[in-house]
């Protein structure tokens, strides 16, 4: 009991992800210390940029980290996950490119306008999901299965089959680096979104509302909260996260491919939320956990690449690590270990040992 109480608050939630990250780091130190080396080089565009595995981990985890943050909020309030984020991200990308192409020249102004419109479009789609979940009380996964299965087709419909190219220094500044700044821009985007959410939580009491609704919707209502509204707000915030991630995804490649943009990111995002120690059943949440989860997933991937595992094979190893992490974090295992510990001698715990209620 005491142990559980400890792990449910404070740093406890982050314990397992931190340990996992630590093991990954130690593993890499012993494997090849040069994994951590950071260098500078001049890229194709003539800018000086930072290079190295660490930079590439943090850079390429950006989309995942951003979407994981939004996913955390929806998970916390609704007790379920949105599996349509990748597909809706494709729509966001399509809208962004369509607007930019419609305006002709790519200027800072047009990029901002295009982004705002893509943000609005994403929010509309997320509100569709949100309404099904909050008003019609459909399980989030089922409600979002609709857009999961057809959003990429909508993206196609918006933009046709082509993979339009966006060639502009503004685009590459967003997707890669800004001339003169050696740090990849997507990293700033993560910080920006993180900061935005931080400020929202700082200057509103949204966190308290989300957690209350996620833990006990009935009691939250009796205390004057509007659960439907809170859930919709979470979906809107997720929509913003998706459009930012989609912007990065499009700009990184300088082209739109509605079939591959943010593909399969929903699964990784849900994993990031779970690895970060957040309950997939809703309630209390830690954004930092999910961000940490995203970087763990990317670090694992990059480590495997560095060990010459073919990119397509990475999934298998990832799966094994995930299983280990969730098994270590499962309450049943935790309780059994605690019981085992208490007995001092390693006597096997009988079946049906006491579980957390």
């Amino acid at each position: 009991m005491k142990q559980n109480r400890k792990t449910s608050s404070g740093l406890g939630q982050l314990l397992i992800p931190l340990v996992a990250l630590g093991i990954l780091i130690v593993f890499n130190i012993f494997r090849d210390i040069s994994f951590f080396s950071i260098g500078m080089r001049v890229n194709n565009a003539g800018n000086i940029v930072l290079t190295g595995n660490l930079i590439s981990i943090i850079d390429s985890a950006s989309e995942l980290a951003i979407i994981a943050m939004g996913m955390t909020l929806v998970t916390a309030a609704c007790g379920g996950q949105d599996i349509s984020v990748g597909a809706v991200g494709a729509i966001a990308g399509a809208v962004f490119v369509k607007v930019l192409q419609g305006m002709g020249a790519i200027t800072i102004g047009s990029v901002i306008l295009a982004f705002v419109l893509c943000c609005l479009a994403t929010i509309v789609f997320k509100l569709f999901n949100g309404t099904l979940v909050a008003v019609f009380k459909i399980q989030p996964m089922i409600a979002t299965l609709i857009l999961y299965s057809c959003a990429r087709s909508i993206a196609y419909w918006i933009n046709g089959d082509a993979t339009p190219q966006l060639k502009s220094s503004i685009i590459s500044s967003i997707g890669k680096t800004i001339p003169g700044i050696p740090v990849p821009t997507p990293i700033f985007a993560v910080i920006l979104v993180g900061l935005l959410l931080f400020l929202i939580f700082k200057f509103t009491s949204l966190r308290l509302y989300i957690q209350s609704v996620g833990i006990n919707q009935g009691a939250a209502r009796l205390n004057g909260m509007n659960p439907i509204m809170i859930k919709l707000i979470c979906f809107i915030l997720l929509g913003v996260c998706v459009s930012v991630a989609s912007l990065i995804g499009v700009c990184r490649l300088g082209q739109l491919n509605h079939k591959t943009l943010l593909v399969d990111i929903e699964m990784d995002a849900i994993l990031a939320v779970a690895i970060g120690g957040n309950s997939l059943g809703g309630g209390r949440f830690k954004l930092s956990g999910s961000i940490l989860g995203a970087y763990i997933i990317q670090m694992l991937t990059t480590t495997l690449y560095a060990m010459n595992v073919a990119p397509v094979n990475v999934k298998a190893y990832k799966a094994i690590v995930i299983i280990i992490i969730v098994v270590a974090g499962s309450p049943v295992v935790k309780n059994k270990l605690t019981a085992l510990w208490k007995r001092l001698r390693p006597v096997p715990v009988p079946e049906g040992a006491e579980k957390e209620g």
Binding site: Q211, S212, A220
Partner: protein, 503 residues
Amino acid sequence: MEDGIVLTMRGISISFPGVKALNNVDFTLRKGEIHALMGENGAGKSTLIKVLTGVYEKDAGSICIEGCPGEAHIHSPQQAQNIGISTVYQEITLCPNLTVAENLFIGRTGGSVVHWKEYEKRATEILENLGIPARAKQELSRCSLAVQQMVAIARAVDMNCKVLILDEPTSSLDDKEVAMLFRLMRDLKARGVGIIFVTHFLEQVYEVSDRITVLRNGELVGEYPVSQLPQVELVAKMMGKSLDDLAELERIGQKSAASEETVYEAEDLSSSECRPFDFSIRRGEVNGFTGLLGSGRSESVRAIFGADQVTGGQIRMNGKSVRISKPHDAIRNGIGYLPENRRRDGIIADLSVRENIILALQVIRGMNHPISRADAEAFADEYIEALQIKTASKETPIRSLSGGNQQKVILARWLLTHPQYLILDEPTRGIDVGTKLEIQKLVLKLAEEGMSITFISSEIEEMLRTCSRLIVMRDRKIVGELTGDDLTQAQVMKTIAGGEQAE
């Protein structure tokens, strides 16, 4: 064991941390008898039943059951079932998506292939035999609640139970359904099953039972044949006052004289759960809704707070017409509500004590004006101190606090909003005596400071001590309003029990 007795429980005691839940309680059940187990909240009825069904382990005492030589040792509901004790709970513990026949036999069929044809035939026999108006192939969720209840009973009976416990089986049924259930109970009685009947409805007890055992505060008050215990006396026994002893308890303090100013006024207020009623409360007044459980007292205050769907009525606060259709409206108008079911409706279990305390104030201020961490901590400290909330720290999750302290946190939550009108539904339930007194004193103090308070409790003494006006409800209707000299145990009991029967 004596002839004709199926079950004897002797000297049963059990304690939970801080509370003696049952103290040396005896209970005897005879063959073919319907035995009502009565008592108000916290009297120990559920605890006694849980001891009998093996949910709790008793600290002392013995249980003997017919056909079981020596003492019966019951450690799990499964074991209880095996020796012939079956329980039918108010919440149906059957699977609604299966058929009636399946619900009768699932979990106790041999082999891996189920011959439903055969079971359906047997189910039809059982249903016909007991006169249950259901068909074997009918999906359970399509049956009325009463029939579902009866199917659960049929399952128990078919498992050859000697003792059948019916735990508040009638609370969700309408009159016709209750009649149907009673027919079945009498039928079983004729077959020699001993039935323990737990209910809050006095009329039903008198209609169907042979004997009544009354518990109060975990102690046995007595066992009486129904014919020798008039209704008003039963109420007295449950409430813990003998009829002869009408002396008023000393009041804790002088009841503050309420001002003439009406704070809240409702006309024809009704909700999805209660019938239209009128109600008003003045500044600084403490009033109470009384009546037994199920009389509609909680539903009435839920309607005032907008907790259930409000279906009609006019509301004025301080003379101005307002609309209260959801809890948010009520809170904004300065109404606070401490719900009856603390676990389900009150606490946000995983949040800290601090967060639980500031919750309602935060909602009043609105999402965009968060209470700063420093303020929140100051508020939390202030109320932890003022209400003497025992918690490891203000960051402890509220679920790890004891019931009484959880209640104080919810109370703190509402006090922090400085409501004009505070509704307390059973604030003292499951709380030790000391805390009960503290809460009563607090209520009087708040009223003196000008707050209007509605106080609901199952313990009439508490209400008499704190309230200057009592609204008495029976069968979801207001049947009387007592003030001044009428505020006596005897009068309240008479009104609750119904004037005619009291004569």
